[in-house]
Structures are given as structure tokens and as C-alpha cells.
């Protein structure tokens, strides 16, 4: 798991690359913790290079959403493939997460 991030137009873009399972979720959580002082309250997570998400990965995405909401911002999940979308549907988090198809991130 690799994680890239950048701030663009006042929005924090985070791009994990690899499986967002328990091990990957730990890497993403640690990376997000290092960005705690970011002034961006809006967060976009680019999932276009995440082929797989499990319950641990989902937990980190929920934590990021909470962080955005604490700052009166929002979390967007962009470019999610079929498996992450199915997981969100199975857990009935469709209305909690804002899923968007495109991934216009400039991150690698």
C-alpha cells in the first residue's frame, strides 16, 4: 500500500494505491494522522487504484468522513471500482458516502 496526497483548490486529495485491507488500512490511517494539521476540511479519496476494500478499509474511510464533518466539510469517494461499491452497498453506507465515478486527481 502506498498513499499519495495533495491539497488542491482547498480540498485534500488522498490516493491510496493497493488493497485497502487491514494492513493497507493501517498505512492509510497513519498517513491521514500525519495530515491532521491540514487546513482542508473537504477530503476526496481517489479509489481508482484500490481494487479491494474490506471492513478495516471501510473503517478508515468512515474515520476520514468523520474528520471532514468535524470541520464542516465532506468526504468524497471518487473512482471506486465494483468491489468497493458493492461493499458500501452491502453495509448500507450508500447514503453516508458520496460516491463519484470520475477521478480527476493529478496524483500518480
Amino acid at each position: 500500500m502506498k498513499v499519495f496526497s495533495e491539497t488542491r483548490n482547498g480540498e485534500l486529495w488522498v490516493k491510496p494505491v493497493g488493497a485497502l485491507d487491514a494492513a493497507g488500512a493501517r498505512v492509510l490511517r497513519e498517513h491521514a494522522d500525519q495530515l491532521e494539521d491540514s487546513t482542508s476540511s473537504n477530503i476526496a479519496v481517489d479509489l481508482s487504484d484500490v481494487p479491494f476494500v474490506d471492513s478495516s478499509g471501510l473503517g478508515v474511510l468512515i474515520a476520514l468522513a468523520k474528520r471532514a464533518m468535524r470541520g464542516a466539510g465532506q468526504l468524497r469517494l471518487v473512482g471506486a471500482g465494483e468491489q468497493p461499491r458493492r461493499l458500501v452497498h452491502l453495509t448500507q453506507l450508500d447514503r453516508f458516502f458520496q460516491l463519484e465515478p470520475e477521478a480527476p486527481s493529478t496524483l500518480p
Partner: protein, 153 residues
């Protein structure tokens, strides 16, 4: 069978045993190995493959996080292919737990953890947890549909 013939074998039951270290970083490579075997033996749909990966990942992560800890001890994962059925058994030697019915959607949407076994039960049939004095076994099965014979030519 003569030269140039086609071998047909009924696939009654195939068991593959994988041994990993009790370490979360082992789960993704484990799936790579399991998937490569499945691709040889079973024509699964992408949805079934994806659901099996999720169920297996949750079962193995549960054993590592709640039974062994990340102590590097061996953890055995058995994948069994039978006609109409794809089963996994995760063996651990931890203290064990009590498996109860868990509804993955019943929890608050903002809960960050504790969905693993609920997801497993939502995805798979016949989820069982067996305990004896020496070890524990968490098993589950997915119903699948594939031909009963495989062309081995």
C-alpha cells in the same frame, strides 16, 4: 487413453492448504496464491471471486487480530473446492470467541470497526466456528455453479 486423447476427471473435491504467518501483511499475498489456484480449478464469476476474497480476508483478519495477534505464528487456511461449493477453513490456536449472529447493517453507520464477522455472515452460507482444546476453526462456504468435470488435456 490413446495419444491425443482428452483426459476428463470428475472434480469431486480438491483441498488446498496455505500456511501463513500471523501477520496482517500476509493477507494480500495469501489472496494472490488462493486466486491463482482458483483460476486453475474453478471458472468463477467476478462477483463470486470478489465475494470469496472479502469473506476470506475478513475470516483471516479476524484470526490474526482476535486470536493470534500479529505474533508471526503459523496460521493455516484451507480452501476446499467441491461441486457447487467453495469453502474456506481458517485454523487458529488462540483463545477463541463465541460466534453470534451479526447483522452488518444493524450497527450505526458511523461505527468504524466490528463489521468483519457480520460481513462474513452476509456473504457466505454455513458460517461455523468450531473449538476444541487445541485449536479453533472458522469456516464458511459460498454456493457456486460450475461444470462437474474439467478438461485436463
Amino acid at each position: 487413453m490413446g495419444v491425443g486423447g482428452i483426459a476428463m476427471r470428475t472434480l469431486d473435491r480438491l483441498s488446498c492448504l496455505f500456511r501463513i504467518r500471523s501477520d496482517l501483511a500476509e493477507i494480500d499475498p495469501l489472496w494472490d496464491e488462493v486466486e491463482s489456484e482458483l483460476r486453475v480449478w474453478v471458472p468463477l464469476t467476478e462477483r463470486t471471486r470478489s465475494d470469496f476474497r472479502l469473506a476470506l480476508t475478513e475470516a483471516v483478519a479476524n484470526a490474526i487480530l482476535h486470536a493470534h495477534g500479529e505474533d508471526g505464528r503459523p496460521l493455516d487456511v484451507e480452501v476446499i473446492i467441491e461441486r457447487g461449493r467453495l469453502e474456506a477453513r481458517v485454523h487458529d490456536s488462540g483463545p477463541g470467541f463465541v460466534l453470534t449472529e451479526s447483522d452488518v447493517t444493524r450497527q450505526s453507520s458511523t461505527v468504524e470497526s466490528g463489521r468483519g464477522l457480520g460481513l462474513l455472515q452476509a456473504l457466505a452460507a454455513d458460517v461455523q466456528y468450531l473449538r476444541d482444546a487445541a485449536s479453533n476453526e472458522l469456516s464458511f462456504a459460498l454456493a457456486v455453479d460450475w461444470p462437474s468435470t474439467r478438461d485436463l488435456s
